[in-house]
Symmetry: C2
Subunit: 351 residues, 2 copies
């Protein structure tokens, strides 16, 4: 049963379900003092701090829908699967503390492939200081699927919802937008080139920032602290997973307000601008609909503007209006264009 002709390809069947989880998580360390019991029982046990509230969020990544293993290394995939969940925790103004990780995988993946995946999960858990406290590993009849649930804590009453934006508030975004989507375009082009000529040596150097944003995104763990230091409490907040446009619409719908977004204020990296030109794509459209940027979008009271003014991480891109005024993009030419949720929709990507 434990025979292996090729020692670098161990079948997952050889380890069994229990052996597999133990094997994959044996190097994972518990660091959060709130983790009373991690992996290894029917459930994990977490201590409660009476001064805090808990947040919980979950995300599912499916092969062939959310990722393509022909250009996403498994280690990066594991890392990204953690990041997309932590980003939602930060978007509540909370600090992530624990995650559970469930993986369904077909027999075409050897144990070594799962080790790579879990190495990425561990790397993210370490950098973001979260404990992996549970999970499930099972077989699938086809591809790979990762389901992660993240827990976090926030000072009681300090959670920031999508629903708190008020008329005249300023709309602020962290970092820059559109790079992850353009990274995907570059990788997909290389995949097509490779199909035609398997000896081609892609030069990804001019696209390094884009490719990194796509393959190894980070969540904005710095922003919660930055805002605390600046003594700014956002009135509403969301993270940008589906594209700026659909996230603005979420805030407006939940807060029952309108919004004017200024095209010339949208922060773009020079690589995004150059690559959009090369691909003959409109960079504003990409920033609005690209998604997977994992930046934070929030609203602040105008009184707080002096506190954030000039901060290199934060850009004011619009302001909140009365609901009746609707949600609009004000173009560079001054035209008012209704904003629609064209964000990437997982359910429409399927044939």
């Amino acid at each position: 049963m434990f025979e292996n002709k090729d020692s670098s390809h161990t079948s997952i069947e050889n380890l069994g379900e229990f052996g597999l989880i133990d094997h994959l998580t044996k190097n994972f360390k518990i660091k959060q003092k709130s983790t009373v019991k991690g992996i290894g029982d029917d459930a994990a046990v977490i201590a409660c701090d009476p001064k805090e509230e808990l947040v919980i969020t979950t995300d599912l990544l499916v092969e062939g829908v959310h990722f393509d293993l022909s250009y996403v290394p498994l280690k990066h995939l594991g890392y990204k699967a953690v990041i997309v969940n932590l980003s939602d925790v930060y978007a509540m103004n909370a600090e992530p503390t624990q995650i559970t990780v469930s993986v369904a995988v077909s027999n075409r993946f050897p144990v070594e492939a799962l080790e790579e995946l879990y190495a990425g999960i561990q790397a993210a858990a370490q950098l973001y200081n979260v404990d992996v406290v549970g999970g499930d590993t099972t077989s699938s009849t086809t591809g790979l699927l990762i389901s992660i649930t993240a827990l976090g804590t926030v000072k009681k009453g300090a959670a920031v919802y999508r629903s708190g934006a008020k008329e005249n508030d300023l709309l602020v975004v962290t970092g820059d937008l559109g790079a992850a989507y353009m990274g995907l375009q570059v990788l997909e082009r290389e995949k097509e080139v490779f199909k035609v000529n398997p000896n081609s040596q892609p030069d990804l150097e001019p696209y390094s920032y884009l490719v990194e944003r796509q393959l190894k995104p980070e969540a904005r763990k710095d922003i919660t602290n930055l805002l605390k230091e600046l003594e700014v409490r956002p009135t509403a907040m969301i993270d940008i997973s589906d594209g700026l446009s659909s996230e603005i619409i979420h805030i407006c719908k939940n807060s029952e307000v309108g919004c004017n977004l200024y095209e010339d204020k949208i922060p773009l990296d020079p690589q995004v601008i150059a690559t959009c030109e090369e691909f003959n794509l409109d960079s504003t459209t990409i920033a609005l609909s690209g998604g997977e940027d994992y930046e934070l979008l929030f609203t602040i009271s105008t009184e707080d503007f002096p506190k954030i003014k000039g901060n290199p991480h934060l850009t004011v891109i619009g302001h909140i209006t009365d609901e009746k005024e609707g949600v609009h993009l004000i173009s560079r030419a001054g035209t008012k264009i209704p904003l629609i949720a064209r964000g990437w929709n997982a359910l429409k990507n399927e044939e």
Copy 2:
């Protein structure tokens, strides 16, 4: 885009990801006072009670591995997917409070199929008094996959682990064993009969208990309270998902003890005994390895025996020994047979 020739088969594409979640969960009500914010933001927010600890557990169910839609109605599947998680919460001596539900589904399922699935999820959530506070709905390239995470609360320090069993403790099981597995055998036989003769009318009446245990299992929500009333605190506890044999081994391994299990004490329903005879299967083997019973297995100090004696829900099936004595089944004939974990292994069920 919203055209529908057959109004009873709405394509999930027509609703989009956000519309779909809203649609499926619109009747879900929040009942737990600890749920500060449910579905509808980046994360749910849960209040912490300083007198309590939190438990968290997660389970993944994959079509073709854990269930076969040719005989499992979607409503039952949704119900069962919740139950398997709640069972783990009860196994910690905790009360379930919230769940998140993620579903990956291919286009071959119309919206009506997902409505059925969510109706089952809602039915279980209602009966067990848990709030559905989050989740994710996405497409899959093939089958159906359900990932549920459950939260629960337990009085601080009152969680019962697998690791607390002591020499001389009694091994106790709730309910009876093997019925869910025999229900599966009956359903699989009917499926084969149906393939040969699609007009056959199966008479499932003699197997009603077995089929119900397979298709609509319940978690033992009564036991935590019963034990509290009896003033019995288990020294170790686990739920029976993979079969009595492997769960006993988990307790023994984690508690560093041995165990003698008595064959003649294992509680079996008359339908299990009769159907095992009909299928020419050994009922002890089925109870040991069948799995999916979702009963609770726990150990108690011998001092507590008078408190549970004669209780119709509880059966003493063995006692804990020194680790050196190993883990054994004492057969009806008095023979000592080493117990091995032959519990159902999801990773080996794949071809």
